[in-house]
């Protein structure tokens, strides 16, 4: 069988992987700078040139791609109550691989509408109300959005009774409007898989063209999805396995980038203690969160603010004032790699604090309530305390030789009420195998699983703690 080409258009690099689906094995990998500003197929050409230089001429049967180039998929989400439909919409956007520019709740004000128009989202997700519940707010928001500027597509996934009317109002002036089932059809029940699928399709139809990626799509079979969405699919497969190949079980993954930090968990997250009461919106089994305020370079200041200067300084082994200045220097020179031992330990401290903060926000927490029959613990979010495996991918972590220390210190900085993992064995996705396999599994799940276990299998995990 002919080889398959898998492409990941990253914000900096275009990565290509050639797979022989039969054996299965990876024939070769190469990367070149992404050329989103001019013509993205140029950078792809360079990467393919390098790949063929290493593997010889290849005749691909299928070419698939994912993309986070040109800023990835940027979304605005609107719901009704912040802890209910707004949160459900946010979770849906994250699992579809988006960055959420901002989450709105209740009726949109004129100031909100201005802000939305200015933020130029790729897609707006409009939700609100359970099925048969409140329709006034979502309808009001549809009317307001119809009048506001910007021609971004809107996906409507709110109260079933108001869907049709919302779509009608929004589509009047030729705006692209898509309908999906309600993200929260009844109280505290999430239904985000269908909207996730629709978001991918809209990404495919609208965003690719808008971002100058269409010339690449002429030589491709499909630009399938945003990269994080491919990564989430691959992690889910790695965790669950197939009928023939056993999966790794529940796991978490962290992608520490220059501007943002992504955390994934493939885990049920039910309380590990049967006496704990579960509160609030249930969270998806395959969950992704993006911390837009913390990243190793552009948002190094955000790490300092979230973790505290004292803690960052303690991790770096230098005084807080010096750390503050050093962090700002990094923010202003995002391409800088550590040159001195001080810079190296600062990078390690930043990675530790970013991972610690991001894991803490992703995982759930416990609150103790004293009742007439004694103390009762309430859990909100996912209990990940028993998850034992961590995959690190992308950016700053995969080549770190201090990964074990970073993970151990990130766990140590958690509050006792936090339900983050307590002990993690780690593996690093050095060859960007996750995004590639997230695409390949659409062709052949079994072969993709075999390759995943080859690169990120049981034996690849080093006990960190």
């Amino acid at each position: 069988m002919k080889p398959i080409l898998l492409i990941d258009f990253g914000s900096t690099y275009t990565k290509v992987t050639a797979v022989d689906p039969e054996t299965p094995r990876i024939l070769g990998r190469a990367q070149a700078f992404t050329t989103a500003a001019t013509d993205i197929s140029e950078g792809l050409g360079h990467a393919l040139g390098k790949l063929e230089g290493a593997c010889g001429k290849l005749d691909f049967s299928v070419k698939l791609a994912c993309s986070s180039a040109a800023g990835g998929l940027n979304m605005v989400v609107c719901g009704l109550v912040p802890s209910l439909t707004s949160k459900a919409a946010r979770l849906a956007a994250f699992t579809a691989g988006a960055k959420v520019i901002k989450t709105y709740a209740y009726q949109l004000t004129n100031a909100d509408l201005d802000e939305i128009t200015r933020s130029k989202p790729d897609i707006l997700l409009l939700t609100g109300g359970t099925d048969g519940g409140n329709s006034e707010v979502i309808l009001g928001n549809a009317r307001a959005l119809a009048k506001a500027g910007g021609n971004f597509p809107v996906v409507v996934a709110g109260n079933r009774s108001a869907q049709e009317e919302c779509a009608g109002i929004l589509g009047r002036d030729g705006r692209a409007v898509y309908r999906a089932p309600n993200v929260m059809p009844e109280m505290n029940r999430l239904d985000i898989a269908p909207v996730q699928q629709i978001l991918r399709e809209v990404f495919l139809r609208n965003i690719i063209r808008a971002k100058g990626l269409s010339r690449a799509s002429a030589i491709l079979d499909d630009i399938l999805m945003p990269t994080p969405s491919a990564v989430l699919d691959a992690l889910t497969l790695l965790s669950e396995g197939t009928k023939k190949t056993k999966g790794l079980g529940e796991l978490v993954a962290v992608d520490l980038g220059g501007a943002t930090t992504d955390v994934y968990s493939i885990a049920k997250g039910h309380p590990s203690n049967p006496n704990v009461l579960l509160r609030g919106l249930p969270e998806p089994y395959a969950k992704r969160t993006v911390e837009g305020d913390i990243g190793m370079r552009y948002n190094a200041r955000g790490i300092l603010e979230a973790a505290g200067a004292e803690r960052l300084a303690e991790q770096a082994g230098s005084p807080p004032e010096a750390v503050g200045e050093a962090v700002d220097r990094l923010r202003d020179n995002p391409a800088r790699l550590p040159q001195t031992p001080e810079e190296e330990s600062l990078d390690r401290a930043l990675a530790t604090c970013a991972m610690g903060v991001a894991l803490g926000r992703h995982a759930g927490s416990l609150t103790r309530v004293y009742t007439a029959v004694g103390p009762v613990d309430e859990q909100t979010g996912k209990d990940l305390t028993r998850v034992g495996k961590l995959v690190v991918t992308g950016g700053a972590l995969v080549y770190s030789d201090a990964l074990g220390d970073i993970v151990r210190d990130a766990i140590a900085m958690q509050e006792p009420v936090s339900l983050t993992p307590r002990r993690l064995a780690c593996a690093a996705d050095r060859g960007y195998i996750l995004s590639a396999m997230g695409l390949f599994l659409r062709v052949d799940r079994e072969a993709a699983m075999q390759l995943l276990s080859q690169y990120l299998g049981k034996d690849e995990f080093d006990a960190a703690v």
């Binding site: 109550v81 359970t130 009844e186 509160r279």
Partner: protein, 144 residues
């Protein structure tokens, strides 16, 4: 669709049996019940009522701290835009043996529309809801 009720046991109260009985009885009577279970805060009642566009909030309390837990509930509903929503409370809502008429008055003053003492049957609650929501006797039944 039938009328929508938000149902739950308020505060740090873990009495689950009565809640299940009411849930069953109200559903059986044709209401659409959003049951939040036990240990429900005022905010959770209100948020659920907003999303589901509820017609009534039915609050249970069985552990004696109901008076403390229910204070300011009506004001919070008003603040959240649930103006005039039907608000019921019932159970062992106060500590000790106090005359029910006094207890009832205190909760009515707090803004509850109806107050039910210990030993109330689900049927009494259903009859009150039907009357307050202006349902014909069979209307809730035939809904759904």
């Amino acid at each position: 669709m039938g009328k929508t009720l938000v149902l739950g046991v308020i505060g740090a109260d873990v009495h689950a049996v009565g809640n299940q009985i009411l849930n069953y009885a109200f559903r059986d009577a044709g209401f659409h019940v959003v049951n939040l279970g036990v240990m429900v805060s005022q905010e959770e009642f209100i948020e659920a009522a907003i999303e589901s566009a509820a017609d009534a909030i039915v609050v249970s309390s069985l552990y004696g701290h109901g008076e403390l837990d229910c204070q300011g509930f009506r004001e919070k509903c008003d603040e959240a835009g649930l103006k005039g929503i039907l608000l019921y409370v019932g159970g062992n809502i106060v500590v000790g043996k106090q005359p029910f008429t006094e207890v009832e008055k205190r909760f009515l003053d707090m803004g509850f529309d109806r107050v039910f003492g210990p030993g109330t049957t689900p049927e009494a609650g259903i009859a009150a809801l039907r009357s307050d929501l202006r349902l014909e006797h069979d209307e809730a039944d035939s809904a759904d």
